[in-house]
């Protein structure tokens, strides 16, 4: 048997990690984001991206969307621990590859380059709902909405074409069809 000098047990087997999108409805009050984020860091959970904004002005409800990864047990714990927080109203959890769920991320790219490269760049962005939001002789700023991996890809492709600055949001998620998460 392996020598152990610890009075704690050794780690057991780890399960397979999956990507999940956790959506949390919270009271929009001071410190609520710190409570949610603190829970993740305190218990060693992972945050890939985070989006938060108030969605109900009257009731002061904010919707937090967190992309995370973990074993099914960890994901279950994340949900249960979040539900225990006092300002949390409800928690939803979606697998990233769930076909019934829409995911979108928004990104702004600033491209500074020659006319020719600018045109090339615009063309590449076209299939991702691109909108040109600013223009000058040497540059433009373009907005795209797409999946995370598509935006990752775009950053790669636009790089040599003069990509000067990137700003992107975390994911937002919504169920398809008429169903609403209760």
């Amino acid at each position: 048997m392996k020598k152990s000098k610890s009075a704690y047990s050794e780690p057991g087997k780890f399960g397979r990690s999956e990507h999940h999108i956790i959506v949390v409805w919270v009271d929009n009050e001071t410190g609520v984001l710190a409570r949610v984020v603190g829970l993740f860091s305190g218990r060693g959970y992972n945050i890939e991206s985070l989006t938060v904004a108030e969605v109900d002005k009257k009731k002061h409800i904010s919707r937090i969307t967190i992309v995370t990864s973990g074993t099914p047990e960890v994901i279950e714990q994340i949900k249960l621990q979040l539900t225990k927080l006092i300002p949390v109203h409800k928690v939803a959890d979606f697998k990233r590859n769930d076909p019934k769920i829409l995911f979108k991320e928004l990104a702004l790219f600033k491209v500074v380059s020659s006319k020719k490269n600018q045109e090339k760049a615009k063309k590449i962005c076209k299939k991702y709902n691109s909108i040109i939001v600013d223009k000058s002789k040497k540059s433009f700023v373009i907005q795209v909405t797409a999946l995370r991996r598509e935006i990752d890809k775009l950053i790669e492709v636009l790089g040599p074409l003069g990509l000067a600055s990137t700003s992107r949001t975390g994911a937002v998620a919504m169920t398809r069809g008429s169903r609403v998460f209760k």
Binding site: M1, K2, K3, S4, K5, S6, A7, Y8, S9, E10, G12, K13, T30, G31, A34, R35, G38, G42, E73, E76, Q77, L80, Q81, T83, K84, L85, I86
Partner: protein, 589 residues
């Protein structure tokens, strides 16, 4: 328009409406308006401690022994940071505490003002919830809500931070009655599903090697839950074991009780946990001191978990049936349904579990709590046993510090009632026992309160002897003095080649003189022959006592589950040690 009150008045109006009788605390600049108001509220007694950690542990001892929330006042900055250990301790052991802290005036928040700290930031991970009250008109609601959060669902500590200007400002006071049934615990008050009950009863009927594994949840649920556990155990004839924090829910001297389980639990309890085919966890949380290596934890059993906190389910161990409920209400339905449908179960099931009981008796024959006694030096286990024998006929409350003495207390002191053992289980806070004893004595005047202590632990909060003296609390500090941080020394002996790095305490105080310096009574016992008389002397004194019991310095706490080992491979102590420690034993622990 109704009457208006200052923030400080509102604090007291809330406490009065919450029927608070005692507050533990320490004044300071940012809580002075609240302290100024104290004189106008005669029904609330303030117990001045000597350090804010002491206030917290005293509030914990108070809450644990009285089943009422413990309340504390602390000032801003260092007052709050000193309280953090106690809040974390209460969070880990699910003890309801309401901490009211002063804060610098609102306009100075964020300016690094004198005695300012980010109180809500610092205490966020060690409370169930906390609030910074910036508007005096929110104060009453917030404090009442704080009591609600602290005491419902799985209990725990909360903190309300009140800036000094808010304590002065005038506002309205309104008391809406608490809705104490609502749980702030992620849906913990769901109705019990009768299908789950039927399934559980079916599992119980099919099992030939069952065991109940009960925890602090039974104590927290109230005395009724303890009664129901006793009823269920006698209805079924199943064996029962308990965690450290659950001791007392079931009588410690009953033949169906296998003793405490876990790292320093009994041989029979741990083997039964390992070999059982049905484990019914009632209000415990599969803590790592209990399970050891999770992959090898009780491999052949079906597991049932009953807990009020949904996040406890599946956190450490996968279970086959989970029931989210208050332990007491679940046990009530369970025993009722069980009695109705299974008349005469005890007799008809005897045959089925007879082999299991035979096996358990075999394990019992090992007498894993035995130790080799001595005529010349006091063995610490012997001291605890004598203390038990001489106090068991009184309704005695025991607190402990953390370490070897804590485990010996758990092993050799047989608790027969709930709420009689106050010990830092989850956090393992050295220095817990003395201030906790202060709180226990405040809640239980006239009762015998003993802190079974180690000399290293007790020195961490020794200043609270002064609190005991001031408030005439005749607590007894029973120190098993081996001059070492005993548990550290034991691990170093077994794991680190006897390199006793910094675990010996040189220059210990003379505890008898120390007691006298505090205006208390000091007693010292050095020989086994004088132990009984000295213990009796301690019990008879109506003053705080420090009892310096000089014990064997090298004694180790057994039995013990070595790390990385399953429950059926325990070290049994000196007998084992002699045979194994030379080669294998050392590396096992």
């Amino acid at each position: 328009m109704g009457k208006i009150f200052s923030g400080a008045e509102i604090v007291f109006k809330c406490l009065e409406d919450q029927k608070v009788k005692h507050v533990f605390g320490y004044p300071g600049g940012a809580v002075l308006p609240i302290y100024d108001e104290l004189k106008n509220h005669k029904s609330i007694k303030h117990i001045l401690v000597r350090h804010e950690q002491g206030a917290g542990h005293a509030a914990e001892g108070y809450a644990r022994s009285s089943r009422k929330p413990g309340v504390m006042f602390v000032t801003s900055g260092p007052g709050v940071t000193n309280a953090v250990t106690a809040l974390t301790d209460a969070y880990m052991d699910s003890i309801p505490i309401v901490c009211i802290s002063g804060q610098v005036p609102t306009h100075l928040i964020g300016t690094d003002a004198f005695q300012e700290c980010d109180t809500t930031g610092i205490t966020r991970p060690c409370t169930k919830h906390n609030w910074l009250v910036k508007d005096v008109n929110d104060l009453a609601n917030t404090i009442h809500k704080a009591f609600e959060v602290a005491t419902t669902g799985r209990p725990g500590p909360v903190l309300v931070d009140i800036p000094k200007d808010v304590q002065f400002k005038k506002g309205k006071y309104k008391f809406k009655k608490n809705n104490l049934n609502k749980t702030f615990n992620g849906g913990g008050n769901k109705k019990i599903n009768s299908k789950h009950l039927d399934q559980l009863i079916k599992m119980m009927k099919q099992s030939s090697r069952p065991i109940f594994y009960t925890g602090g949840g039974v104590i927290n649920s109230g005395p009724e839950a303890s009664k129901l556990v006793r009823e269920l155990v006698s209805l079924t004839g199943f064996p029962i074991t308990s965690t450290l924090t659950g001791l007392g829910a079931y009588p410690g001297d009953d033949p169906q009780f296998l003793g405490m389980l876990g790292m320093h639990g009994t041989y029979e309890a741990n083997n039964a946990m390992h070999d059982c085919d049905l484990m019914i966890n009632i209000g415990a949380r599969f803590d790592d001191r209990i399970t050891g290596k999770v992959d090898e934890f009780s491999p052949k059993s079906k597991k049932v978990h009953i807990d009020i906190d949904p996040s406890s389910i599946g956190k450490n161990v996968k279970v086959d049936l989970s029931i989210i409920s208050d332990v007491g209400s679940l046990l009530k339905s369970l025993t009722t349904v069980f009695k109705e449908k299974n008349k005469n179960f005890l007799n008809s099931n005897k045959q089925k579990t007879s082999n299991w009981w035979k096996k358990i008796e075999k394990w019992r024959e090992k007498r894993s709590l035995n130790f080799i006694n001595s005529d010349t030096v006091i063995k610490p286990q012997h001291a605890v046993k004598r203390l038990y024998e001489l106090t068991k006929n009184k309704d005695t409350f025991i607190t402990t510090e953390v370490g070897q003495h804590q485990m010996w207390a758990a092993q050799h002191y047989k608790f027969n009632k709930p709420n009689r053992l106050m010990t830092s289980g989850g956090l393992g806070t050295m220095g817990y026992g003395l201030p906790a004893a202060v709180g226990v004595q405040i809640a239980n005047p006239g009762k015998l309160v003993i802190d079974i202590a180690g000399e290293a632990s007790v020195l961490m909060t020794m200043q609270e002897m002064s609190t005991a003296a001031q408030h005439r609390l005749p607590i007894k500090i029973f120190i098993l003095n081996n001059q070492y941080m005993g548990m550290v020394r034991q691990w170093q002996e077994l794991l680190h080649e006897k390199n006793y790095s910094e675990s010996y305490t040189a220059a210990l105080p003379d505890f008898v003189k120390l007691a006298e310096a505090y205006g208390c009574v000091g007693i010292r016992a050095t020989k086994p022959s004088e132990l009984d008389n000295k213990i009796k002397e301690m019990i008879d004194v109506d003053k705080p006592v420090i009892f310096d019991c000089e014990v064997d310095k090298g004694e180790n706490c057994y039995p013990m589950i070595p790390s990385g080992k399953p429950h059926n491979e325990m070290l049994l102590g000196s007998r084992d040690e002699k045979e194994e420690v030379s080669d294998e034993g050392k590396t096992l622990v």
